[in-house]
């Protein structure tokens, strides 16, 4: 495929993806994986203190950072306008941005009262935003050739496998996300869309200088992103069933 992100010169435009939460970590590496394969990648950012995405864009001109707080409809609309202007279509949505903790208690019957404001905020970002992105960007996805929707979920979303005893906030957002993706699947699979619901594994966090905060037994986000993009781009024999799949390609119960 001829790469031509600006759409000038009459060549075939590159396949186009939007990756959210690409400031660092898994999203950043997913953007890199796609750019390495010649994709035009719009990479959503929210962090001011991280320049990893700028460095990636300097290395891969196919990466185009854009400001995108996924919980803000105005940001989504502006991103849509930019994508429409540059490429006119979207082949892949890679919905990945998430809040992963922070202060605020969320244990029923715990010592501290539940922080309901934090609960609602995380539901908006981790659960609803992926649905909103599809909703607002559907006209661009309709013009895309691939019509493939990736959502980064987690093993912690699994009701069947849940063994935790407290701190409900993050886990419940990913269960809600899975249900939202099921509803999108009900609606859009008959229209040709295909879905990836991905469990990336417990990952090492990336610090502003690009180094890792290492957790024991954690997977490297670059490695998990490579698996995610391989799963994203390969067609599956079972596209008509929604499956939560991990970085080894193993399936998890909902």
């Amino acid at each position: 495929m001829v790469v031509n992100p600006e759409g000038k010169g009459g060549s075939v435009p590159a396949r186009t993806a939007l990756v959210t939460g690409a400031d660092r970590g898994f999203g950043l590496f997913a953007a890199r994986e796609l750019a390495q394969r010649g994709w035009l990648v719009f990479a959503g950012r929210v962090l001011e203190n991280y320049d990893l995405l700028d460095r990636l864009a300097a290395e891969y001109p196919l990466v185009r950072p854009l400001r995108l707080d996924v919980s803000k409809t105005d940001d989504i609309m502006r991103a849509g306008e930019e994508i429409a202007h540059v490429s006119g279509r979207l082949d892949v949505l890679f919905s990945n941005a998430a809040l992963m903790g922070g202060p605020g208690a969320s244990t029923l019957g715990g010592e501290e009262p539940i922080d309901f404001g934090a609960l609602e905020r995380d539901f908006r970002v981790n659960s609803m935003a992926g649905i909103l992105l599809v909703d607002r960007l559907l006209p661009l996805l309709e013009k895309g050739e691939m019509k493939r929707l990736h959502f980064t979920s987690s093993e912690i979303s699994s009701l069947r496998l849940m063994t935790r005893t407290g701190s409900m906030r993050y886990a419940m957002t990913k269960t809600a996300l899975n249900l939202g993706v099921r509803m999108l699947f009900n609606d859009l699979r008959p229209r040709g869309y295909t879905f990836r619901l991905y469990q990336p594994g417990g990952m090492n966090q990336v610090l502003p200088d690009g180094s890792y905060m290492r957790k024991t037994k954690a997977v490297d986000p670059a490695e998990s992103a490579a698996c995610a993009v391989a799963q994203l781009l390969a067609d599956r024999v079972d596209e008509d069933r929604l499956a939560l799949i991990d970085y080894h390609g193993r399936e998890l119960s909902f």
Binding site: T165, L179, F254
Partner: protein
């Protein structure tokens, strides 16, 4: 006399369920107070504007309001009641197949259905933490619109008040069905998550 908290008596299902408990000698309260044996939350709130399909302009604020009504407000009431609960310390909520990741066929009502999927997870996780303090949990689908509310209330009464199997008097292998929280519907069927 035991006390049963029911979050609202405004639906025919809740009204009939309250009548069944009263007949059994329970006192009904609609505000959390000390001494509750059954905490029954019958919330199932749909919010105007939370009815759109993808591409129709899904309303994030309506979805957040559905989350507040179906998750935050019930949890706030439960947090208040929890320390004073007695006896079976049974926590009962309603849910439905619309929030089953395995079985949902819905294409609209994102805020409502996703909130109630979140609620399922919250109850499973909280059950893991609270079981050792003697709390027990029930999740029930009254099959509203399919099963008459009176019949659903009888069904709920049986499911809420009956204890579940534990093999402590049998082979002592530690199997305890109380730890296995599932949604059961008014016809006794177990819904997959």
């Amino acid at each position: 006399m035991g006390k049963v908290y029911i979050s609202s008596l405004e639906t025919p299902f809740a009204e009939k369920l309250a009548a069944l408990f009263e007949k059994d000698g329970y006192k009904i309260c609609t505000v959390p107070e000390p001494g509750i044996e059954y905490f029954i939350d019958v919330t199932d709130e749909e919010v105007p504007g939370d009815d759109r399909k993808a591409g129709e302009g899904i309303d994030a604020d309506a979805a957040a309001e559905a989350y507040r009504k179906n998750v935050c407000e019930p949890l706030a009431r439960l947090s208040e009641a929890l320390p004073g609960m007695v006896g079976r310390k049974r926590i009962c909520f309603l849910n439905s197949v619309k929030s089953s990741i395995n079985l949902s066929t819905e294409t609209s009502g994102y805020g409502h259905n996703m909130s109630r999927a979140a609620l399922n997870l919250i109850l499973v996780l909280s059950k893991n933490g609270l079981a050792e303090k003697g709390y027990t949990f029930r999740l029930f689908d009254p099959l509203a619109g399919t099963v008459p509310p009176g019949l659903a209330a009888h069904s709920a009464m049986g499911y809420f008040t009956r204890d579940r199997f534990a093999d402590d008097e049998w082979d002592g292998l530690g199997r305890n069905d109380e730890l296995n929280l599932v949604v059961r519907d008014a016809l006794g069927r177990e819904l997959p998550w």
